[in-house]
Symmetry: C2
Subunit: 342 residues, 2 copies
């Protein structure tokens, strides 16, 4: 049995304790400075205040000042911070980690590079700390359902297949299924894009609820299909393998039905301005909105550079306008129509 | 304005009267011998007993014996029969139609040819009656939501782009958006396959409801992603263009959330045998089950012919075993895991 240290006790990092404990590993969950209350409560009761589940028995809980002790003898480190903690993780935590131990990041999302392209978090970490083994998780998985042991299929990506196989062995269970790929940018790009497109698909939820309380699916399905089309174009454009779309489409599906991204898309579809919708969410900054903004920016720079045509990404550009320019929702349905001759 | 004659007053044929009347065409809805009660009721009240909506004003209603009158001066014929009426339509109706008038079929599905491959209904009709212009509708569109004017994006396929453009002009509205393609087999194959995969995805709905009343999405998303993967492989295999996946994935999405296919998939996922699930549906024969069976058979013959490997279609073969061999649901999660190296 191995020692797995999870840094960041957010919902996803914490949910990883389920497959890890299932496989009888020692699991050490370390809170960040923002997680004091969560860790205190876990130490006392084993109940996670945000995940709203009791974590598996014998998980060990640590505050950040106990990090070194939590890392002692670790065989795997799981990076459990949110997108907003990525810089902090890179600058403050990575230098303190043993060099030889692989880091599996559960954080989804990408950064814009100065040239307008997008870089995955593993790539960002590798640039900051070369010579270490950074891996990441992509694919459809909500933390709540992982904690409920719903059957889940994710993909781990990293540069070294041998290392990925070892990490898989540590974490796979009969409910947590793991594919592997060395196509890091491909997978991360696919699962980052779904943030923008999940907002876009859920506009149709809002549109339909605006007109009554029946939920229609024709319009959601039209936006879902258009999303798959644009996501595949973006993958091709960034030189990523097309098979990543299965994790992108799956991740899109789960995000359309989950939590706050659906909530904000629905409000926008109902006719709220972006500012009003964010106010209705009481100032919670959504990771998906940040990543949707970045994806929109990356596509804008590709258009500016003449690499792609504006008319190829009508849905992404619309949702990007809605969230960055506070434009009213007015889905460009006509622009989705195509003619394809054999 | 044109004259559009719809033959078959099922829910989808009848729903086509909404965009057609929106564009001020004369619409003649002709019932089959099974539709007497529907047509009688429509003549008296304008209310469609199965669609459960009042059809647009000034739609004209005909019984089958009035077909010739209904065809007089028609510019477009819409074939509105279900899969079960396709043979009857080919043998009894097509010979009575004016040769020069295009026929747009709303029936989704395919036939197995003796060599094990699948043929679209337009292809089948063309073989029966060469020299006519048979077109078809694919893509995500439930009749009920079309009747409610939910924004919809479909694709019309046919052999002649000029003719498709003319049909599009007759039917497009600000809620009924139409793409066009001459890739008839590609589109029809994509939207036929979704029947099998919609059954497969909804197994996860049943699995999750079996364990409580919370609907989980990780498992649905895993099956959705695997469906997209297998559908793309099937498209490639049949020489169809990959872009058809956007209508296939959209159609899959709408079918997962709609009506009886979801109902039966849910029952199977809960542990019902196929026979028990069909009994619970009180003997209604589901089009999607028939088409799922055909798709399964086509894939089995490709495997037998050594053209594909069994392990590439674990989900399709499982659902096919469940419905044709009355096998218990036991989703082959492990078989979905892959390793992909750059």
């Amino acid at each position: 049995m191995s020692v797995i240290t999870v840094i960041g006790s957010g919902v996803m990092g914490s949910a990883m304790s389920f497959p890890a404990r299932e496989n009888k590993h020692t699991v050490r969950l370390v809170g960040t400075m923002l997680d004091r209350e969560i860790i205190e409560h876990l130490k006392k009761t084993g109940y996670h205040l945000n995940l709203k589940r009791t974590l598996p028995s014998e998980v060990e809980y640590y505050h950040l000042e106990e990090l070194d002790r939590a890392l002692d003898g670790a065989n795997l480190i799981i990076g459990g911070v949110s997108s907003f903690g990525v810089h902090w993780f890179a600058d403050e935590i990575i230098p303190r980690l043993p060099v030889k131990i692989p880091v599996l990041s559960v954080t989804k999302g990408m950064f814009n590079l100065p040239d307008g392209s997008l870089a995955s978090y593993p790539k960002y970490y590798s640039q900051k700390a070369p010579g270490r083994d950074f891996c990441a998780v992509g694919g459809p998985c909500t933390s709540y359902e992982l904690a409920d042991l719903d059957k889940t299929h994710v993909c781990f990506c990293g540069n070294h297949i041998k290392s990925l196989r070892e990490i898989k062995k540590l974490l796979e269970t009969d409910y947590y299924h793991i594919s592997l790929t060395t196509d890091v940018e491909g997978l991360e790009c696919a699962v980052a894009m779904k943030n923008a497109y999940a907002l876009a698909v859920t506009l149709a939820v809002g549109l339909s609820l605006k007109n009554g309380d029946t939920l229609n699916y024709n319009s959601q399905a039209a936006l879902f299909g258009q999303s798959v089309r644009e996501m595949r174009k973006l993958l091709a454009l960034t030189g990523c393998h097309d098979d990543n779309i299965i994790f992108g489409a799956g991740d899109l599906y789960v995000t359309v039905f989950g939590g706050r991204t659906r909530h904000i898309g629905t409000l926008l579809g109902k006719g709220y301005s972006f500012c009003d919708a964010m106010n209705a969410l009481q100032g919670v900054t959504l990771e998906s909105v940040v990543i949707a903004t970045r994806t929109g920016e990356a596509v804008r720079s590709l258009i500016d550079a003449g690499k792609i045509k504006e008319e190829e990404f009508p849905l992404l550009l619309h949702i990007s306008d809605v969230i960055t320019k506070d434009k009213k929702v007015d889905i460009p349905w006509k622009a989705f129509e195509s003619e394809r001759l054999l």
